[in-house]
């Protein structure tokens, strides 16, 4: 088949990102030709400020080097400006006469600095701040001249001013409005920011309107004169008073333009063969002057160019972060508030911290942070997800619980960490490694950083820190992951929620059926989606759906925990933590017979036999099974253990028979697969020796009955379980706990612990079903018991079918 021809005008971040996405989806569909007015390959425009400030070199901010164009068969015309689009003949013509035919045309012409219409605006020494050439001009000018004036105290203006100051110039920032960054900051935050920039040596003139730029005797610019008659010397004037989309070319081709080139939700212009992305495009009346929205636009545009025809762009919520070293300021959304908005503020002028959160209804509408922006990424996520903050309003101001407790030496503010501080304790990744990877590989998302550095890819405890580092390195270009409708993995566009719904509503009973019904992109999924699908199937349709062992990860497939040397560990179940001399004797015999190198107690107070060869597992289980010992499921996303204290059976303080209650719970839940591991504890009195306060379900005996706590967690981030209700009898403990766990099993996403599930849906929601709605509670409880009845010990089954455990020979 003959390839289609795609021509792209503009060789910037939006266009190249679209090409990257397109090549991922349909590598063979197009012959691609790119015209770029600049004589460079695509570079990371948002890192020009660090280049100007002398913190980064130009070579380090190239995103796609010339090899990339060559490797992907892309013809690059760098330094050639397209001057005409002939829509009838479907070709573009460059200034030097180069022509290119297209079947599809992608406009990514970006934007230009807005140059004030004042006399003298064309003098030598008057520039915008947009590209490499501007940056180079500033660096060169700083070597020979003294006075710089930056017109416009927005994000770009301040970053330019800061860079010029660091390059040794005397810098004055002139601004029309009454406070700096008025589009991004309120007056208070702006005042604090101005003060710290003044401390760095910048001068500010606010409320000043420029009248003209006066030439010096050598013909270049010499001074700036204001409407009020004042005048200041200027050897260099940087116009940073805004940008305007580059639409001249599109207009000349009679494409419909307002401020930008008007595009639909599929990034298509009024000519269906022509698409536009990035700062030149206007979508639903908005032309974005930031980098962040282009990632979503690129994705949607590529999808349609690849003729897949799904995905639409619904606009972006944007955030701002100033990239001036040593200054932390962040804003997002409607930070000024207004009618029917409320504000929560924290102000500590001496400490240099100011935070304002704007709340509308039960949602966060905007945020301004100064001095401490560690929670910026979290607030932005809440904004973007439109998540209700009603339940967390009282501690919203004090930040998130996103950063885990351990693994990064107690640090919770990335900005305060030196480059050699370890961020990810699992994979030994330092802050400097992450910053370097972000810059050299042009990374913008958490997923990208995880892939390239491995940071935050194991236990996830440092995720919040890594997000902070991305946000502070790429500034406003940072896009938090879409947590709400995030696809399960790269194999599908469907979220966990929509996959669950489809399995339930269409009664899908096998993984191939799910993949077919939901148009999976890969033939057999991957190690992320298959285990999730398998769980959703068996939890939605117990006893009907197939449980596919090949879609379970090794521990669940082998019913034992794989260790770093490839051996396994075996943990026999001890109901409620109780055992007998006979059981212990068998365990001791097994340990000796199979030369188990390590015997220890697990965190859940069970015996762990470590270092067993895979081939020995069935024999070990056969021996253990003779004494009645069954699988302890220490390997599964399943019920693990019910930990108990001694309780009223022996303890002089005990009020309830906690061991007995624990055994009953563990027997009821035997064989319960869940989205993640599930741990319970029963304490016989409020002294809580079984540590029920950090369990998925914690039961605490009191004289008049039992208190039930849910959604605790003792792992990455210690979460204290929340009180759900109080019950009187053992039967009620079983019913309420069972109903809660069944609700979790039916509604949580795979790999979501109870604490994350309850944080997502809200404790009130859980209570409204499990505590207040007796009918639904009973239904849930019955569904749990139904799915668990007749569960067979997986070890006993494996003994009968040992193929998984036996090796072949080739001698």
């Amino acid at each position: 088949m003959k390839k289609l021809k795609l021509v792209m005008i503009g060789n910037g971040m939006a266009g190249c990102r679209t090409l990257e996405e397109l090549i991922k989806l349909a590598p063979e569909m197009y012959d691609i030709t790119v015209f770029g007015a600049e004589p460079h390959p695509n570079y990371n425009r948002i890192l020009l400020s660090p280049v100007l400030a002398g913190e980064t070199k130009f070579e380090d901010i190239v995103l796609n080097d010339l090899d990339w164009y060559r490797d992907n068969g892309i013809t690059l015309h760098a330094g050639k400006q397209v001057v005409k689009i002939d829509r009838k003949a479907q070709k573009v013509i460059a200034a030097d006469g180069t022509e290119a035919q297209y079947d599809r045309l992608l406009l990514a012409t970006g934007s230009s600095p807005f140059i004030l219409p004042v006399p003298g605006n064309d003098l030598p020494g008057v520039i915008g701040y947009r590209d490499i050439a501007d940056t180079e001009t500033m660096i060169e000018t700083a070597k020979t001249h003294r006075h710089a004036v930056v017109i416009g105290a927005g994000l770009l203006g301040l970053e330019a001013a800061n860079g010029l100051k660091l390059r040794g110039m005397d810098v004055t920032v002139v601004h029309l409005a009454d406070w700096i960054m008025e589009r991004q900051l309120d007056g208070t935050a702006a005042g604090l920011l101005q003060k710290s920039l003044e401390d760095k040596g910048l001068k500010f003139l606010l409320g000043k309107q420029t009248e003209m730029l006066k030439p010096a005797s050598d013909g270049r610019v010499g001074a700036v004169r204001f409407k009020d008659g004042g005048e200041i010397p200027a050897d260099l004037v940087v116009m940073a008073a805004g940008i305007k989309p580059n639409v001249a070319l599109a207009k000349s081709a009679l494409l419909h333009c307002n401020r930008g080139i008007v595009v639909s939700d599929t990034m298509q212009t009024y000519d269906p063969k022509i698409y536009a992305v990035g700062e030149c495009a206007e979508h639903r009346g908005v032309a974005y002057g930031l980098v962040a929205p282009l990632f979503e636009q690129a994705k949607v545009c590529a999808n349609h160019l690849a003729q897949m025809g799904i995905g639409h762009y619904g606009g972006s919520v944007t955030s701002t972060k100033l990239k001036v070293t040593g200054i932390d300021v962040f804003s997002a959304g409607n930070f000024m508030g207004g009618e029917d908005c409320e504000e929560i503020t924290l102000s500590d002028p001496t400490g240099g911290v100011y935070k304002k959160l704007v709340i509308q209804g039960d949602q966060l509408a905007g945020a301004v942070l100064y001095g401490d922006t560690a929670d910026g990424a979290w607030y932005f996520q809440l904004l973007k997800d439109r998540q209700s903050v009603a339940g967390i309003r009282d501690h919203l101001m004090f930040g998130q619980n996103h950063v885990g407790d351990v693994g990064h030496a107690g640090q919770n503010k990335a900005a305060a960490m030196p480059d050699d501080a370890e961020v990810c304790g699992c994979n030994g990744v330092c802050k400097g490694d992450i910053v370097k990877a972000i810059k050299t590989h042009g990374l913008f998302t958490l997923d990208d950083v995880r892939k390239h550095t491995k940071a935050s890819s194991s236990c996830g405890s440092c995720t919040g820190l890594v997000e902070q580092i991305i946000a502070s390195t790429v500034g406003g270009a940072y896009q938090p992951a879409d947590t709400k409708d995030k696809p399960v993995c790269g194999c599908t566009e469907h979220s966990h929620a929509s996959v669950r719904a489809a399995i339930r509503d269409k009664k899908l009973l096998s993984i191939p059926a799910v993949m077919q019904a939901l148009d999976w992109k890969t033939p057999n999924g991957c190690a992320t989606c298959r285990p999730a699908l398998n769980y959703y199937l068996i939890s939605s349709w117990p006893k009907e759906a197939e449980d596919d062992p090949q879609s379970r990860l090794i521990n669940e497939r082998a019913h034992a925990n794989i260790q770093k040397d490839g051996t396994f560990s075996v943990v026999p179940r001890m109901w409620g933590g109780l055992t007998t001399p006979a059981e212990l004797r068998v365990i001791a015999d097994v340990a000796e017979k199979y030369q188990v190198p390590t015997v220890k107690m697990t965190g859940g107070a069970r015996v762990d036999l470590l270092g067993i060869k895979k081939g020995d597992l069935p024999k070990v289980w056969e021996d253990l099974g003779k004494a009645g010992l069954v699988s302890g499921h220490a390997y599964g996303k399943s019920i693990r253990t019910v930990k108990t204290c001694v309780g009223a059976e022996h303890c002089r303080f005990g009020t309830q028979l906690s061991m007995n209650m624990g055994v009953k719970l563990e027997k009821m839940l035997f064989g319960m697969w869940a989205p993640h591991k599930v741990k319970l504890a029963v304490s016989g009195c409020p002294r809580n020796c079984a540590e029920a306060g950090i369990k998925d379900v914690g039961v605490i005996g009191v004289d008049s009955g039992y208190e039930l706590y849910i959604a605790g967690n003792g792992g990455i981030k210690t979460e204290v379980a929340e009180f759900m209700c109080k019950v009187k009898s053992d039967e009620e403990v079983l019913e309420y706990s069972g109903a809660f766990l069944q609700l979790y099993r039916e509604e949580a996403w795979y790999l979501e612990r109870t604490c994350h599930y309850v944080a997502r849906v809200g404790l009130d929601y859980v209570k409204s079903i499990v505590v207040e709605d007796a009918a639904r509670r009973k239904e849930l409880y019955e569904r749990l018991l139904f799915s668990l009845q007749d569960y067979e010990d997986p070890w006993a089954n494996a003994v009968k079918q040992p193929r998984e455990y036996t090796a072949l020979e080739a001698n």
Partner: protein, 102 residues
Amino acid sequence: MADWKKLCTLEEIPRLGSRVVKSPKGDIAVFRTAEDEVFALHDKCPHKGGPLSQGLVAGKVVTCPMHSWKIQLESGEAVAPDVGCAHSFAVKLEGGAVWIAL
């Protein structure tokens, strides 16, 4: 010269699964894809030596059970951005039997 050894029947390897083969050259993982293609790799992940035979097979890729590196079954190469290679062995199917060249 390749020394071909008969291993087992195709049915003895689970579809989308694998078997370990003990050989003079160390442990080898033999994989079977959904399309009944068979591949063999040295049973050691190039990352930290994890047993690839215990990984999850999808398409023509196995995900290592240790740290989730993805290894291509045909070449033994890690999927980018990870870099590394597990040695691969030639295998063939003849009359329902799986053969390996050592």
